[in-house]
């Protein structure tokens, strides 16, 4: 199973390592050709403003939307989750997106870098707590009926699933704990 990691900018390497640990073959995706060769795609952490602009400039937005809408599983972390959101709540927008996930997302919702934090969270379906790292993280302010909330912090959703789409506002790729990536790999397996 080939799982792409969008490689325009961000913590691409960490996602590749986590996917490898979760039993998938990671492929860095920077072009439409490499996108066509993968079974699923992870959109990594990074700067959503930058990644969105690069998706647009290198003409990846349309092919990515087409693939996501025609059945390709997608997982976004932090910036990636912003780029999957149907709606962005101000003040900062993210104009270039693949809006497949029925959530309203607010960027930098906890404050600036000094407010970045880590904490243990309970994830539905996992026995043990998961150490979640939030870096200038967004929040899902509102989620649609079709969206299942798998984890929350202070009553706000931080890990959500909508069918073959998975999104987290935190960074499971940073802790060496591959359980969220294993969940995504099992979603990909189910979609093949």
């Amino acid at each position: 199973m080939k799982v792409g990691v969008l490689g325009l900018q961000g913590d691409v390497r960490e996602h590749c390592t986590a996917l490898d640990g979760a039993g998938a073959t990671p492929v860095v995706v920077k072009t439409a050709d490499s996108l066509a060769s993968v079974d699923a795609l992870v959109m990594p952490g990074g700067e959503s403003t930058t990644i969105g602009k690069l998706l647009d400039r290198f003409e990846l937005l349309e092919p990515l939307r087409d693939r996501a809408e025609s059945g390709m599983p997608l997982y976004g972390t932090c910036a990636g989750a912003i780029l999957m959101s149907k709606e962005i709540a101000g003040p900062h927008d993210a104009p270039f997106r693949v809006p497949v996930l029925d959530v309203v997302t607010r960027r930098n919702a906890y404050g600036r870098q000094v407010d970045s934090f880590e904490t243990d969270i309970a994830v539905r379906g996992l026995d043990e707590a998961f150490r979640a790292v939030f870096i200038r993280a967004p929040v899902f302010e509102d989620v649609g009926d079709a969206v299942e909330i798998l984890a929350s912090v202070d009553d706000r959703a931080v890990l959500v699933r909508q069918g073959r789409f998975l999104a987290s506002t935190f960074h499971p790729e940073m802790t060496g704990d591959n359980r969220v990536h294993e969940l995504f790999v099992s979603i990909v397996r189910g979609a093949l």
Binding site: G10, E47, T50, Q113, V114, F117, I135, R136
Partner: protein, 298 residues
């Protein structure tokens, strides 16, 4: 309901923000207007400072942290992280920058040092720091003081990439050498590098720094940025190279695109066309020893 306990200011969130900047370009800006141009071009972060290095070189004088008013305007104007520079050893400038809400502090040799023996004790802060280094020992000393990101220094404000190449090669080749040594050789190697032993041992084991390694100092063209990426940088700082060039917006965008596709010469060729004049460069040999910025830092 009780609030979740949030652990802030830890090593992982400090180093983690730098991880999120990888593959990106961080641009020097002196005004909110320049910050917007940088963000629109695709910068992953902006660096707020009083004057860009080329102007510092031309005008001289003591160079300090930027005006807090300016920094606050820049923080307000963009959605990407904002970094700002403090003088080497000037921990009160660092306290002020943390209070202003900047996302990263650059304890920078480009400003006039405030302490000729000591750097800021960066462990005292919740905000993360990036520091410059010309070689592995300097990088590990800064990490030992709490730096969460390293940039190779280069020679800022010259538009000449030769020193950036020298410093990047020096850091990377020293790390490769460490990997080839036996455990019993590491202590004397730590002594050679004047670096903390535990960090030397960690690099010998992993073959890389425990933090992200960007490059800086003299990058002026898309090809310069791609060169540094191919040599092994995780990302690029561009200072004077953008706003001292003929067409900052176009050049900034081209440098971003070349950094993303640093291994694709066709794309680098395409984005490098018709950028107008690059900044006027300076040969390193023409700069008197005492005016070289990279030698600042201890």
């Amino acid at each position: 309901m009780t609030e979740t306990t949030r652990e802030t200011g830890g090593l992982r969130v400090k180093r983690g923000l730098a991880e999120m900047l990888k593959g990106g370009v961080i641009m020097d800006v002196t005004t909110a207007e320049q910050a917007k141009i940088a963000e629109d071009a695709g910068a992953v972060a902006v660096m707020a400072l009083e004057r860009v290095p080329a102007d510092i070189r031309a005008e001289g004088g003591v160079v300090r942290m930027a005006d807090p008013e300016k920094i606050a305007e820049i923080v307000e104007s963009v959605s990407v992280p904002v970094m700002a520079k403090c003088r080497i050893g000037h921990f009160v400038e660092a306290q002020v920058l943390q209070s202003l809400g900047v996302d990263y502090i650059d304890e920078s040799e480009v400003l006039t040092p405030a302490d000729e023996s000591h750097h800021v004790n960066k462990w005292d802060f919740d905000v993360p720091f990036v520091c410059g280094a010309t070689n592995l020992g300097e990088a590990l000393r800064r990490i030992g003081e709490g730096a969460a990101m390293i940039r190779s220094k280069g020679e800022a404000g010259t538009g000449n990439v030769v020193e950036a190449v020298r410093h990047m090669r020096s850091i990377l080749s020293a790390m490769r050498k460490l990997q080839s040594l036996g455990d019993e050789e590491l202590m004397s190697e730590a002594k050679e590098h004047r670096a903390p032993f535990e960090l030397v041992r960690e690099v010998a084991r992993t073959g890389k720094l425990p933090v992200v390694l960007f490059t800086a100092g003299g990058i002026a063209t898309p090809a310069d940025a791609a060169l540094m990426m191919q040599l092994g940088a995780d990302g690029v700082f561009v200072g004077s190279g953008i706003f001292k060039s003929g067409d900052p917006a176009t050049r900034a965008r081209a440098i971003v695109e070349a950094t993303t596709h640093f291994e694709d010469a066709d794309i680098i060729a395409k984005v490098s066309r018709g950028l107008g004049d690059a900044m006027v460069g300076i040969n390193i040999g023409d700069i008197p020893e005492q005016e070289r910025l990279a030698t600042r830092g201890w």
